[in-house]
């Protein structure tokens, strides 16, 4: 399925993508800001995400973001990653003006109330506890990131390094952050719905056109040096079972090898049919669960092999067996039928993903940020052209011990 869209840029630098979908009575308004946790100061981490919360606390002319949107029959939410902050609104198409009015006003300026900052600091601290501290293995990524990254700001998670950083956030920090990152040239607006292009142009210009232009700041991010040696760390936690995370350094999102890494992680990590599952769980009975995936970040990502040990199995048992399996895997290329299957599954998954309006809006915005929105239509080809030997060479290159960082979480006994 081809996703058709139109693009234009306002005088103030706001990039706009419009995708017409005649079959829906709803509209999606998605605003992506080119700022994520990787842009944070290492002594003030968790800030991009805290800021996302503040974006719902009222803007310069509007007391509260959510109420007018809900009154228009819509809803809104947002997420922050290490790379981006993405806000989305879904509402009945005939009320699209409400979403544009709200999004444009908070791009213009926030209300910056001390109460909003105070409350959202508390909310985010509770989020920190709920998701990272009060869950078994909840802090795994807080531990794994600084192990796998030495220089790059990916060494901290979007929630932040520690609660203290969130407590310390000041109103001055908030203002500075807004000024630097929340302006038209640093944003991508995507609209999906049953509209005419001219209508969209008129509306977008009306609501966003007079927001002052500002120069996009250049990003100076420390490049992660190529990993040369195996790293490992073991921590003890109050968890029921020993868990392991093997993180292999991979390239950036725009590296053509991204697609190889994605297919590779599927091939080795699939439940029941993948080599990790069949060798280490079924045959050797070392693990209770095992899988693989990639992080898919914009800068250098990670291919993760993770799982939990069976009772009475220790990390050394698993470690030896895992490297044996990987060696066996990289010693010969994938068979043609297996490659065909992987690609077909990828096609099925993509067809289902492309169905959702919100997915389309987010992906168009994200690909525009990466390089160009039309990447959304080129993804399939990038997977389909992969050959067995490409995958073979890639696997040999990446699944090496010197390219790996290992985190082990040992259960307290």
């Amino acid at each position: 399925m081809i996703i058709n869209f139109e693009q234009f840029t306002l005088g103030n630098g706001l990039r706009v993508i419009f995708h017409k979908e005649p079959s829906t009575p709803m509209a999606v308004v998605n605003v992506l800001y080119d700022v994520g946790a990787r842009d944070e100061n290492e002594n003030k981490t968790g800030f991009a995400h805290l800021f996302e919360h503040l974006m719902f606390g009222g803007s310069i002319n509007i007391g509260d973001f959510d109420s007018p949107l809900q009154e228009a029959g819509g809803q809104s939410n947002a997420f922050t990653s290490n790379d981006i902050t993405n806000y989305y609104n879904i509402l009945p198409a005939h009320n699209i003006d409400t979403a544009l009015w709200l999004e444009s006003d908070r791009m213009l300026s926030l209300a910056f109330t001390p109460k909003s900052l105070e409350v959202q600091r508390q909310v985010v601290i509770e989020e920190f506890k709920q998701r990272y501290l009060n869950q078994p293995y909840g802090d795994a990524w807080l531990q794994l990131r600084p192990l796998a990254y030495r220089k790059h700001p990916y060494r901290w998670a979007t929630i932040g390094k520690k609660i203290q950083h969130i407590k310390d956030a000041s109103m001055e920090d908030v203002r500075t952050f807004f000024k630097k990152y929340y302006h038209p040239a640093n944003a991508i607006l995507c609209i999906v719905g049953n509209f005419e292009l001219e209508t969209i142009k008129q509306k977008v210009d009306y609501y966003f056109g007079d927001i002052p232009a500002q120069k996009k700041s250049t990003r100076k991010i420390a490049k992660e040096p190529k990993q040369k040696k195996f790293r490992s760390k073991r921590i003890i936690r109050n968890v029921p079972t020993d868990a392991f995370y093997y993180a292999f350094a991979m390239g950036s999102r725009l590296d053509p090898q991204y697609y190889l890494a994605d297919l590779l992680s599927d091939h080795i990590g699939n439940e029941k049919t993948g080599i990790l599952y069949s060798e280490l769980k079924i045959k050797k009975k070392l693990v209770n669960e095992i899988g693989a995936y990639i992080t898919g970040s914009i800068d250098n990502g990670l291919l993760i092999i993770t799982g939990k040990l069976n009772p009475r199995i220790n990390f050394e048992h698993l470690d030896g067996a895992l490297w044996d399996v990987l060696e066996k895997y990289t010693s010969r290329p994938i068979t043609q039928p297996a490659l065909k299957e992987l690609k077909l599954k990828m096609q099925t998954a993509k067809a289902f993903q492309d169905q959702g309006l919100l997915n389309r809006a987010m992906n168009l915005s994200y690909f525009e940020l990466l390089s160009k929105a039309n990447m959304i239509n080129e993804e399939s080809t990038n997977y389909m052209r992969i050959q067995a030997l490409d995958l073979h060479h890639f696997a040999k290159g990446i699944l090496r011990k010197n390219n790996c960082s290992l985190l082990q979480i040992q259960a307290k006994r």
Partner: protein, 427 residues
């Protein structure tokens, strides 16, 4: 009369754009095909893309017989037949690019297969062949038991899991719905029982089938032929009667930095005359981002990352549950704020502004829930399960539009009495 928005610059940002409310939503029922075995197949076509999905609903849910056997049987349906082992069956499903999933609720086990529309029949055939020929190899049972035991240990570390279990046990006390799997139960996993369950509740327990996708007529005929191999479920369940417990119970979990709360009471499902009006009241209380509970406990006090109030339903009944995870030190304060919100709804009429907002919000959400063939089929399934039809949503719209604050207060007085609540916390 709708005011046209005039795009005259400069823009006055302090004035909200005019909004239109929703008057009508088109609800379209799927095609209903009654199979020779009596099972209804609901088919939605005209998808305009290549995706397709089949959902088989079996009356094999966790509350029907033994929950342990139900869970293991559902998890092992296609993990070994006389011709193929679990991996080979999965490989066969992979070879047609399909995804397979089983979920289990209190009433029903639902098998879902996703595939491109030209592969769906092939994928279903693979499932069908190995389901009917399932042998439940002992080593697969052992494997799954081991997996579930470890998952159980993991879940036990979570305050939300502990609170939810205790809540369910106490609320659905002395009924099969309140029966839960305990860790020790895994010792009595039994192959014969699983085999018997498979035969009784799956092969002879098909209840409904939902199909979506542009499938060729000839393939549909083949599919129907296969589906006729099942026997329709003839399950008769005893009428459920409430013996719910009330009052406060706290479960201590050492080292927890947050407490999970579950507060609720027995209620009803969609078949009850108060359901729609109460669900409007529930939205105001705690079922959207701007709700009373979210505004007070998250956005004003910052006690939690989230709090919500929900009406959960099954075929026989429904119940109200408010859930949240809050800092240990704020547990008592949160509980008393929830109580204050109940009292406010009982003592003061909901204001016009808030009620209008919620009305518009609910209609907008319904429009979204009806958007596209997948959403529409889900909407249909949600009423069909209670032997209702799409007319329910017409009534829902009419009731949203006409409901008065007095009615909401009446419902709050009847259903939101603090002394009727079961209040569970863990942490």
């Amino acid at each position: 009369m709708i005011r046209q928005i005039q795009y005259h610059k400069p823009i006055n940002r302090s004035i909200a754009p005019a909004i239109q409310s929703i008057d009508k939503i088109n609800f379209i029922a799927p095609e209903k095909i009654i199979l020779q075995n009596g099972v209804c197949l609901f088919w939605k076509s005209g998808i305009q893309n290549q995706t397709s999905k089949i959902e088989l609903h079996f009356e094999a849910g966790s509350s029907i017989d033994d929950p342990l056997t139900a869970g293991l049987c559902a998890g092992l349906l296609i993990n070994g037949s006389s011709t193929k082992n679990a991996k080979q069956i999965q490989k066969a499903l992979d070879s047609v690019g399909s995804y397979y999933d089983v979920s289990l609720n209190q009433d029903t086990a639902v098998v879902t297969i996703y595939a491109l529309n030209n592969q769906l029949l092939k994928a279903y055939r693979i499932f069908h062949e190995h389901l009917f020929d399932a042998i439940f190899p002992q080593k697969e049972i052992d494997n799954l038991v081991q997996e579930r035991k470890q998952k159980f240990k993991l879940q036990e570390q979570k305050v939300s899991f502990l609170a939810q279990r205790l809540f369910q046990q106490k609320l659905m006390d002395q009924s099969s719905y309140g029966r839960l799997i305990e860790f020790e139960d895994y010792k009595r996993a039994n192959r014969d029982k699983i085999r018997a369950y498979h035969s009784q509740y799956f092969l002879n327990g098909l209840h409904k089938v939902f199909l979506i996708g542009d499938i060729k007529q000839i393939e549909l005929n083949d599919l129907i032929g296969l589906l006729n191999a099942y026997k329709q479920s003839t399950l008769q369940r005893e009428n459920f009667t409430w013996k719910a417990q009330k009052g406060v119970q706290h479960l201590v979990k050492k080292d927890a930095v947050q407490s999970a709360l579950r507060i609720g009471r027995p209620l009803f499902n969609k078949t009850h005359p108060d359901f729609i009006a109460f669900s409007i009241l529930n939205t105001i209380l705690g079922d959207y981002f701007g709700s009373r509970l979210m505004s007070n406990i998250r956005e004003d006090k910052g006690f939690t990352y989230g709090i919500g109030s929900h009406i959960l339903e099954n075929r026989q009944f429904g119940y109200l549950v408010i859930g949240s995870e809050v800092g240990i030190n704020n547990r008592e304060a949160t509980i008393s704020e929830i109580q204050i919100e109940f009292k406010r709804l009982q003592n003061q009429l909901v204001g016009k502004e808030e009620l209008d907002l919620v009305k518009n919000f609910l209609l907008g959400q319904l429009l979204k829930s009806a958007d596209g063939p997948y959403a529409m089929l889900d909407l249909y399934a949600n009423v069909e399960v209670h032997d209702l039809d799409l007319n329910f949503y017409e009534k829902y719209i009419a009731e949203i539009k006409s409901i008065k604050p007095e009615k909401l207060r009446e419902l709050a007085i009847e259903y939101l009495n603090w002394q009727d609540m079961l209040i569970i916390s863990a942490g």
